[in-house]
Symmetry: D2
Subunit: 157 residues, 4 copies
DNA sequence: TTTT
DNA sequence: TTTT
């Protein structure tokens, strides 16, 4: 049993990429507000990385945008890879099995990337940030919008 | 909404520590088998780090041992800290809100650390591994069994 | 472990009542759409009865209205009572432990049963059905808005 | 979103039946102990009816027995039917999507129906009890172990 | 009509 | 590196 249910808001537009075999994979981060404020009285959130595959990846890339609210059902996945300094990096993320699009911040529009880029979210991310050693979401999906070098071992199906 | 439910087996005995204020915190890792084998036909698992606080920490330290099976209800928490090389490390873990002790591998005994160490789990971990930069569970809880320097900001209550 | 998570829309306004001891209890039904259409190609829903107590009852009565969307976390409860014909009636319902108010159908839309009902649900229940022997939600909360004769045994806290 | 996760013990052996089309359906009830005692200091439980279909029905009938512990993932389903007195009966049950067999009360044996009847659970139920008007689990699955008159509308796939 |  |  490995079950996760989240309701949160996207911190950015989803990024849609493809494996060498052409399998669609969407990644995004969801901010889930904590129920209570911390000792300093501030509202905090957890920022949880989500991975969606195949048809669900396409749906997420099409319907989700920065700020929108979504309910995500999935499972926690842990994996590791060696970064370019040869250190093993451990990643914990949620593999989405079902996503329900909720009301969220507006029908979309207005936001950061409105108007352009309806198919996927790339571009709004400072380049050079991916492949960063510590970025838990940076690897192994590198170049947005086109095939990348990812092992079939990462496919969860 | 941030809900996690896991059933898995402990990879090691829990480690019980205390914050400077004397609050008990137990950490352990649970291996949750994936429903399907991978392309190579191997059974894989996700290794998910769990944190329990206060009375629940004591219960986990008392009743859980390496190999035992447990059902864990909790929430995903993300946090970050700066490691000793000044790099920001991002951590994703599950904060347990409820733990149910299941049958598991044996009544306890037999296993790696049987007989000794009923109060907490340390010792069975190769020393030198903690404080490793990339160990997502290594920091900020350093010295097992006694108070450590941890900010009150990490207390989830 | 007894965990339920639902996202659905209220079929009616919540009903707020009080036990003889003055404890608030709110009841409402949530329609949760099924993911697939049935063999006849129709969209179906499950109609799930929710009970909330105390402060959460007040919040539900204040913020929820017919048609609104909510995420409900809770647990399944079964109970039974003898109806006025002396037959034992079995009831299965969800005791809410947490409710998140989502966007839903309109910001609220007028009052109680506002006029016309563009969403769905209203008025489609034959009046006189409440207090019917078989209505799984009709009993034991009878008279809306004021104290009623309910055993303390039903209080889940 | 309609998600249920339960860990409980079977109150009886599962009953395995077949629709007119030969689809396997297993039904059983799981007792889930409540975390707290009630005002009278008694330990209470919720008795939750489970329905499993197809291959999962066969697995449940094969591996589950009275007293055994299981983790059930599924969804709440509500349906209604007219009993033989022409009254509409409302049913709330859990449709299992995944069942994990846990340790439970013993490897099986000992129990009520040990030794005999390894394929399905019938027989241990007082006859005449099914088709009772109020039995929330009695209808529409009537005759154990062989095809019965059930509408295709009840198939959840 | 309930289980450990 | 974060959302409402």
């Amino acid at each position: 049993m490995n079950k996760v249910i989240l309701i949160g808001n996207l911190t950015k537009d989803p990024e849609l990429r493809y494996t060498p075999n052409g399998v669609a994979v969407a990644t995004f981060t969801v901010a889930v507000n904590r129920p209570r404020t911390n000792q300093a009285g501030e509202r905090e959130a957890d920022f949880i990385n989500i991975v969606a595959w195949q048809k669900l990846a396409d749906l997420c890339a099409t319907y989700l945008r920065k700020g929108r609210q979504a309910a995500i059902e999935g499972r926690i996945q842990t994996r590791s890879y060696d970064n370019k300094e040869g250190k093993r990096v451990y990643v914990t993320e949620v593999v989405a099995e079902n996503v329900q699009f909720l009301g969220g911040r507006s029908n979309d529009g207005g936001g950061d990337n409105a108007g352009f880029d309806p198919g996927f979210g790339g571009g709004n991310k400072p380049s050079g940030q991916r492949n960063n050693d510590f970025d838990p979401f940076g690897d192994p999906f590198a170049s947005a919008g086109k095939p990348i070098n990812i092992s079939d071992d990462d496919l969860p199906f």
